[in-house]
Symmetry: none
Subunit: 215 residues, 4 copies
């Protein structure tokens, strides 16, 4: 790969600093993790957004969470058509190989992907409708959620759609036979969260209230 370039120097410096401190102080744990494999207790599905670090929010150590991050933290419906389904592969690996006890889907405020979906579905982003738009085709997953909030005024709809993204993903997770089976066997639980980036807020979906409720 002749295009690969050297890493920026400041990142090399920071890595060297990490190696001399965090790694050095935790060497035994890193070696144990390498030798005995990972045994994460939970899978977290979140957005790629640079502003949300679930490892920070949940004080995570190396080895605790198996983390999949994609645009808006979406899970597509079960579709075993032989294609390269990256998200479905992560769910399959987490549930059937790692046997995590929890799958946590976490959405967030100010989500650019969800905003794009809102623009696309409300007719304000024709470029996202094109077949060649990967972001548009990915956000198609959220269309069922958009239908449920389309009647809301503009000001409320984006936030409501961010929360629908979590619910659509949870619904789609249940279409995977191995997920449904694990949930029904009570060896796996699903959780839906929404994080307010600016205010540091966290809400979880409460099926009884049929709403996201702050902690």
């Amino acid at each position: 790969m002749q295009y690969a370039r050297p890493l920026p120097h400041y990142l090399v410096s920071r890595y060297s600093g990490w190696k001399a401190t965090t790694y050095q102080d935790n060497k035994a744990w890193y070696r144990r993790l390498a030798a005995h494999g990972q045994h994460p207790r939970a899978m977290i599905i979140s957005c790629c957004d640079s502003r949300q670090h679930v490892t920070s929010i949940f004080g995570a150590d190396e080895g605790e969470f198996f983390i999949h991050r994609n645009i808006a933290g979406l899970v597509p419906p079960y579709s075993p058509d032989g294609g390269n389904h990256g998200t479905s592969a992560t769910v399959e690996y987490a549930v059937t190989a790692l046997k995590v006890a929890h799958v946590i889907v976490i959405g967030h405020s100010n989500c650019g992907g969800v905003k794009g979906c809102d623009d696309m579905c409300s007719g304000h982003a024709p470029q996202l409708l094109e077949k060649t738009s990967f972001v548009g085709r990915w956000m198609d997953i959220l269309r069922p959620g958009y239908e449920r909030v389309a009647h809301l005024p503009d000001a409320d709809r984006a936030r409501a759609l961010e929360k629908e993204a979590v619910l659509v993903s949870l619904e789609n997770l249940m279409t995977f036979p191995f997920v449904r089976e694990a949930v029904e066997s009570e060896i796996l639980t699903l959780h839906g969260l929404w994080n307010d980036i600016g205010e540091g807020g966290l809400e979880q979906y409460d099926p009884a209230a049929k709403a996201f409720v702050p902690f």
Copy 2:
């Protein structure tokens, strides 16, 4: 979604601690990020593996890196067929919307996804060959890499294949027209890294040496 369950208490406790300390101490920055959006300098593509925290290795603050994580940190080839291509959507968003300056692909030692690919391609994991195996179909992306290391003895092949995963992803990145264009316009650089989890090592691909070289 009637299946959603309350978050385990220990995670609620950790979140509360984070809110009272890290969030409280950085409230101004979180609010700025929410109000003014993200301007990450780099996209990082890494594995979901719970043992690898690139934010820790690179001393990253919220806002610095747009992070996509999937099984083995793979990028599929460009394929605008209208399907739900989650990884392609993340690359498109990072390069065309966020205009990141760097895309860093980082593989790692002891990678379960790569091990599965090796087993599958060498005939030891027939279940991964089935059409319904999402992990198998995802790891198909790495088959061109397997071909290049298939001749190696078992003991060396897994590690070599982990590094091939980085190279295949870099090669596939260059099949995306908007990536190639940005690279050739010198507004984007690609970087390939491999991290030894147990030893805290970091190597980067050097096109001149045609090999991964430690820092």
Copy 3:
């Protein structure tokens, strides 16, 4: 300007080396910074002293910190009298235009400016008392700090005064209406640090302890 002279050759050589390496490796990021502007997360106010590189201590990349450097890292009190107040202009620009989330004031050991203030206030540097002494008139800003440590023995006073310089600057920052307003709105936080150059030490001011405390 007929007095301008050619740059010393060793600096031209070093620049050429930087251009061929660091710039070349980071060209994409520099171009992004030029095209899309700076979005620094923090302002750092430090001394001009050649021995203190905060970009090194904090592993900073281009684009991260808006840095003002003057003698002793002092901030004068708010005084909108129409004069050329360089430091006040930097604070105004950082807080109201760039909307940084943090202002970090960092003092240091062995500070020549602070030593001059100590000499001046204790009667050992009459030349600094003259109206024409720019250094003396600048260090007048620190006189309230000197009053608080004047009773200390000579051996302890210089270091105590270095730390007072940080506190006086923080106090003066709060006299700027736009700083106070941003702090009270919790979109800006102030931080006071002191760096031991010889020992590589770093202490931060802890209001509860009313003292600088090492990390």
Copy 4:
């Protein structure tokens, strides 16, 4: 100072990494610098802009450059009126106490301060004309430079004004008696540079050509 807050955690981590690597590897030099004082060969006057690190461009070690950074890297005219003149104090300290051999003024492309001056002088930023605008009053220093480029078309004027900022500062430096005397005694030389951030370019003022010329 009850407003001081703890330093963000990622900065503490990075500092710890620096302490364990860069400091540890250079401890002897840092201790020598602390014990024997600084002997910088040059003073550099540059902008606070986060995108310009002269220590990187000139491969500077701790101890080499006495660096003053303010908005646009300006030097006001000599004015010994007893006020707090921060920039004048830095020049006085560098030339009379440290006896630097060079004063290098370096401007840069995409300078927000210079852009503000252009807007203000061309009547597009009335708020900068108010007595209470510290940025406006600071940029008043550049008005003589604006007069010289006012006739240029908008597209060319901003860049020309960035270079005028360097020339005005050099002119003002020569109004300081101790600077003029040192220059005329040939124990000090002045240098004017302009840096193109996006392209990594560097030009120096050539009095013979009466223009900035690339290296």
